[in-house]
Symmetry: C7
Subunit: 72 residues, 7 copies
Amino acid sequence: MGNRPLDKLNNVLNESVLVRLKGSREFRGILQGYDVHMNLTLEDAEELVDGVVTRQIGTVVVRGDNVVYVSP
Amino acid sequence: MGNRPLDKLNNVLNESVLVRLKGSREFRGILQGYDVHMNLTLEDAEELVDGVVTRQIGTVVVRGDNVVYVSP
Amino acid sequence: MGNRPLDKLNNVLNESVLVRLKGSREFRGILQGYDVHMNLTLEDAEELVDGVVTRQIGTVVVRGDNVVYVSP
Amino acid sequence: MGNRPLDKLNNVLNESVLVRLKGSREFRGILQGYDVHMNLTLEDAEELVDGVVTRQIGTVVVRGDNVVYVSP
Amino acid sequence: MGNRPLDKLNNVLNESVLVRLKGSREFRGILQGYDVHMNLTLEDAEELVDGVVTRQIGTVVVRGDNVVYVSP
Amino acid sequence: MGNRPLDKLNNVLNESVLVRLKGSREFRGILQGYDVHMNLTLEDAEELVDGVVTRQIGTVVVRGDNVVYVSP
Amino acid sequence: MGNRPLDKLNNVLNESVLVRLKGSREFRGILQGYDVHMNLTLEDAEELVDGVVTRQIGTVVVRGDNVVYVSP
């Protein structure tokens, strides 16, 4: 079913997403990959703390257990 | 049995739900999908902090381990 | 054995239960379903914070890892 | 081996136990059942906070991940 | 290999051990049993908080996820 | 798929990475190995707290559940 | 592959390691054994809090989920 959470991530591969992590950190970047743990690969990512861009981080592999939500 | 927790989520697909997360965050949106981890896909979602709408977020994939409850 | 924890939940299906969650939140409602993770479906539920009813919430699916105890 | 932790719980079925939970909560009651997650069923239970009885709770199903220890 | 962590616990069965738990609690007692989760059975145990004996607790079944370390 | 999170780690073996841990600790070092839990082996690593190098640590094996993200 | 995290632990058996735990506790000792959970057996161990030796603890079995990193 195309609306299952991991299918939805598959649908937005190569698109820009906002990734909210536990704590106050967010990433905005291009979703390049994911797996069943919701580990994520982002490209051209920037890190935001409290909504302010704090770092241009480029490529980043995020461990899934830190993820609160992903929004395309 | 139609009253098992995941069956109940299945019964309210395409309906509006309130999703309470750990911490003070909630989402209200249309439940489009779920899986056994209680990962959720919401559409037309808005984010609430302490009951106040803070963001129109559209589509969002929530990682299940953040969920406290889902209420249709 | 009818006294194993999940059997006990089975015995009180359709009865009123008190569900204590981590933090200060409780639900009182009719237990309509459960699964091996202790995910719960309640109907006619009310939410209590510090023992005071704060919300009539109707149907609610609670994710099991938030549960401290269930008392019929 | 009768001294493995779950065997020990089996040995004290129908006896009074003290159950220490994470945080400052304890239960004293008759151990009626348990499972491999250390989910517990207690009967005639009372809840103690900081060593003081705060509630006569009767039957209670405790989710195992809250348990620190069980002492007969 | 006799030095693997669970083998080491097996080697000290029926001996006195110090069990450090998350938070400031420790137990000293005779290790009577254990399992793969590091659930432990202690006999003739005493509870220490900040290094001070606070309770003679006799037999106690400790849930493994609370354990920081066990020292014979 | 070469963009899956663990594939991405494989692609940067023997390269310098920044590893952000839960809390305020980071490591910078050469990624020598990883596994499915995102346990990591770093060589020539230095530890940073709040962005300041606090220790030259050489070889270090990081347990995966502490990892927030890895960035090449 | 000899650089995978558990292989690396295998390579330093019988050598002195520094084990950083969650919180401010560290152990220095001889790594005698480990398993897939990163449970560890140390011999001739000393406990450090904030970098200061607080206890000569001899043999210690550390439960893996407390480990942040191991450094030979």
